[in-house]
């Protein structure tokens, strides 16, 4: 029984008498042939109007198979080809190439998917055969109405924008610049360096973070191909791959970058001294005119407008009086904007740590000696507020017992985040080691769920923490931290012993979860990339395209994509650089010609399509007569910006827009032949 009526003669031949379609039925070994009677399929299609030649073969994707297709195109002067085989996602490119080599426009090809969507999913051979016939027939009808398309060529501006000046952004910028391409590196803080500049020593080698990072920071700012814009933010991103237009806001620093020598006299004399330093996580203070840290790059201070006495009261200007360079400190400075032509964008905007005050039971915010891992980094850092001595924030005494609580936020769907923050197992082991090295009599106890130490040298590192530095690992969760007789009592459970435990600690360190930047989602919308349920940016394919976004020309690296340690961030950064340089190796870029076009004769200028387009690809165009008088305004699609979704086509009230490759004619023909 036929599921679908055969195509009426009038429909398929009307206006297409010249169509000479070749249909090639692939057996895919046994994959298709075992469930679809290919002989019947060939017979049914041979009789179909417009089909000039219909063949079957074991593997059309093989070299001899493709030769058969090419020969058939040449010998029969075919105007279109349908290959009934696997999914177009598999071999569309293969057969397009074959068509092009035989002199047929590659867009005069359709693939009838009779494998993934037919032979592999149905068990009844008759039904599968019938379905295969209908699928192939409807695509023959479509291909008759295909138009010859040419790939669109767009020029490539060979200049990259890197957003975020942490280790990932710096690495990407250095790699791109090292290959001779220009880079604009934008960082919103006054200095580049990111979170890595806050760290003490790094796992698994225990080398000092700043010692390995600062040379990279200096290299970046001194590189002739890199323009570093600190204290700046990306305001607008327009355009498309190879041709972005980016507007950057340079926030008023109130210090002239070109004049400042970085002597630091102004910082010394600033009377507002008790501002909790963001860089020190509030463990140290800074002044109102400040550099975030001593090794800041560039070493040029900024004035914190909200804290500065002059901006608050209109009096002070001590910094200006102290400064020995004329007009270097300028209170009248305003935010400025600069526009750049950019070919590719690398997003490396990093992460923040979760606000742990949601865990009231851990006492963070209530007890001064309950701190986060990042606080511990600052305490352990030689350049930190305690000059590298691990001291209690409450009284400045050396702690005897330190309790570390892992997964304080991670892997906790109820209050924290569902995912594993990936780096906490390693940095907690490192903290325990650093504590043991700096305080030989100290005890460290670590509450953990699992030790996840996968990575080169990582498991050995955690073993060393346990075996050489005597970190005591307790498997279990902590239910409460409370103060008793000057000690922090950590109450939890040891699930291996099956017993509740209580530890009297002097300091508690929480391994807080890594979460996206607070404005990650808004920023993603601004630049037009996707994000997951948490706000981490989405890659085009988790396994096979991990550093590209779904938006062509925008790439990802570092912790903005998912929690990551330094080695992974650097590796990913270099990968983005390779992608950017691949793009920059060409002067022109070819892309799929599946784009919309407006019929100007019928367009009424209602601009419905403008509001529907997700890419702002539709502009208003004026049509003037030869005397220059305005005749009418119509919509006009910028083929460089258009990604070919077709939303505008369906939106158009006067049916004036059509989408190449998926025209109304093609689709209706396809539907009617089913």
């Amino acid at each position: 029984m036929a599921l679908f009526a055969p195509v009426p003669e009038t429909l398929s031949t009307q206006g297409f008498r010249m169509a000479k379609i070749g249909v090639f039925v692939c057996h895919c070994g046994e994959n298709i042939a075992s469930k679809v009677d290919t002989g019947n399929l060939v017979k049914a299609l041979s009789d179909h109007p417009g089909v000039e030649i219909c063949n079957e073969y074991k593997y059309f994707c093989s070299d001899p198979g493709q030769e058969t297709v090419k020969r058939a195109i040449r010998e029969n002067n075919l105007t279109g080809v349908v290959v009934a085989a696997c999914s177009p996602r598999m071999h569309e490119t293969t057969f397009r190439k074959a068509c092009a080599e035989a002199g047929l426009n590659p867009y005069m090809l359709e693939l009838a998917n009779i494998r993934e969507q037919c032979s592999w999913v149905h068990s009844d051979k008759d039904q599968a055969t019938e379905k295969a016939i209908e699928i192939t027939r409807s695509l023959v009808e479509k291909v008759k109405r295909n138009n010859e398309l040419k790939p669109i060529s767009v020029p490539v501006t060979r200049r990259a924008l890197v957003i975020g000046g942490g280790i990932a952004g710096i690495q990407a910028a250095l790699d791109i610049a090292g290959a001779g391409r220009e880079v604009i590196l934008v960082e919103r803080e006054p200095s580049i360096g990111g979170h890595m500049s806050q760290l003490s020593e790094t796992f698994p080698t225990l080398d000092c973070s700043q010692c390995i990072l600062t040379p990279r920071m200096v290299e970046a700012i001194q590189h002739p191909n890199i323009t570093v814009l600190t204290y700046s933010e990306v305001e607008e991103v327009d355009g498309y791959i190879g041709n972005f237009k980016v507007k950057v806001r340079k926030k008023a620093r109130y210090v002239d970058m070109s004049k400042c020598t970085g002597c630091g006299d102004c910082i010394q004399k600033c009377p507002v001294k008790k501002i909790p330093s963001e860089f020190e996580c509030g463990l140290g203070n800074r002044t109102a005119i400040y550099t975030p840290f001593a090794q800041a790059v560039p070493n040029v201070p900024v004035i914190d407008k909200n804290r500065c006495t002059y901006f608050k009261n209109g009096k002070c200007k001590i910094c200006q009086k102290t400064c020995q360079i004329e007009n270097c400190i300028d209170f009248e400075m305003q935010d400025t904007f600069e526009e750049f032509e950019i070919g590719a964008i690398v997003v490396a905007t990093g992460f923040q740590i979760q606000d742990t005050s949601v865990y009231g039971e851990y006492g963070y915010g209530k007890y001064k000696d309950v701190i986060t891992g990042l606080h511990f980094e600052r305490l352990a850092s030689a350049s930190g507020p305690t000059a590298g001595k691990i001291l209690r924030p409450s009284d400045g005494k050396e702690p005897e017992t330190v309790v570390f609580i892992q997964c304080a936020g991670s892997r906790d769907p109820s209050k924290g985040v569902k995912y594993c923050s990936k780096i906490c197992c390693m940095y907690t082991a490192k903290h325990a080691m650093l504590f043991a090295h700096k305080h030989h009599d100290g005890n460290s106890k670590i509450f953990y769920m699992d030790i996840r130490a996968a990575g080169k040298g990582y498991d050995e590192f955690t073993r060393r923490a346990i075996e050489e530095d005597e970190a005591e690992y307790l498997r279990g969760r902590v239910s409460k931290v409370f103060e008793e007789n000057g000690k922090l009592i950590v109450r939890g459970v040891d699930t291996l012993l099956g017993k509740p435990v209580e530890v009297a600690a002097d300091m508690v360190v929480l391994a807080t979860a890594i979460v996206p930047q607070p404005d990650a989602k808004e920023f993603a919308k601004k630049i037009g990339i996707g994000y997951d349920e948490y706000g981490f940016y989405n890659e085009a394919h988790l396994k096979l395209r991990p550093v590209e976004t779904a938006t062509a020309g925008i790439y990802l690296c570092g912790a903005c994509q998912s929690p990551k340690d330094i080695p992974d961030s650097v590796a990913q950064a270099s990968a983005t650089a390779a992608k950017v340089l691949g793009l920059f190796s060409r002067e022109q870029l070819e892309r799929e010609p599946v784009v919309a076009a407006v019929g100007e004769a019928t367009c009424a200028g209602c601009w419905g399509c403008v509001s529907a387009c997700p890419y702002n690809a539709i502009e208003q165009k004026e049509i003037r007569d030869r005397n220059g008088n305005l005749v009418k305004e119509v919509a006009s699609v910028n083929p460089g910006l258009c990604q070919g979704c077709g939303t505008c086509v369906t939106f158009c009230r006067s049916n004036s827009i059509d989408l190449a490759g998926f025209t109304e004619k093609q689709i209706f023909a396809e539907v009617m032949a089913l």
Partner: protein, 149 residues
């Protein structure tokens, strides 16, 4: 009718999510009812209500429209446009004489091969219960016999 009724289902799907999901059902060798015919489009945003009407007119007993999950659209927002369009179209269905249960709207991602297979089976069963959708075809026949072209 001597043979049991086999419904005809036309599915309009986007190439990035549901088409890929249907491919995954294939590579996973999941078995489902052979009653569905898939029309591949770049995005659900491209799917016009006219396609649905045309399919029903040309012999489909049910129509499925399926694309990427909200927030996951390859083209950022095409599926939202499709959803809005469906909301309006649904309100007009009774006017057009099409029972609402003849049209299904769903989100199937590229990873949901099993969901695709289940949905096709479900629609096939439901449509089998509903019986053939003949109103539109009969109407079409009337139009064809009466019109001179």
């Amino acid at each position: 009718m001597s043979e049991p009724f086999e419904p005809k289902i036309v599915a309009f799907v986007c190439t990035y999510c549901t088409y890929a999901g249907a491919d995954l059902a294939g590579t996973s060798r999941l078995k489902y009812a052979p009653n569905v015919r898939i029309v591949r489009l770049p995005c659900t945003g491209r799917i016009s209500p006219m396609f649905i009407l045309k399919a029903l007119q040309k012999g489909a007993d049910s129509v499925l429209v399926s694309g990427c999950h909200p927030g996951d659209c390859h083209f950022t927002s095409g599926n939202y446009h499709a959803r809005r369009r469906w909301t309006v179209f649904r309100a007009l269905l009774s006017f057009t004489g099409i029972p609402e249960e003849r049209i299904r709207f769903s989100w199937i991602s590229a990873a949901e091969g099993a969901k695709f297979a289940e949905l096709i089976n479900e629609i096939t069963d439901d449509t089998r219960k509903l019986g053939p959708f003949t109103q539109y075809q009969e109407l079409q026949k009337v139009i064809e016999t009466q019109s001179s072209y």
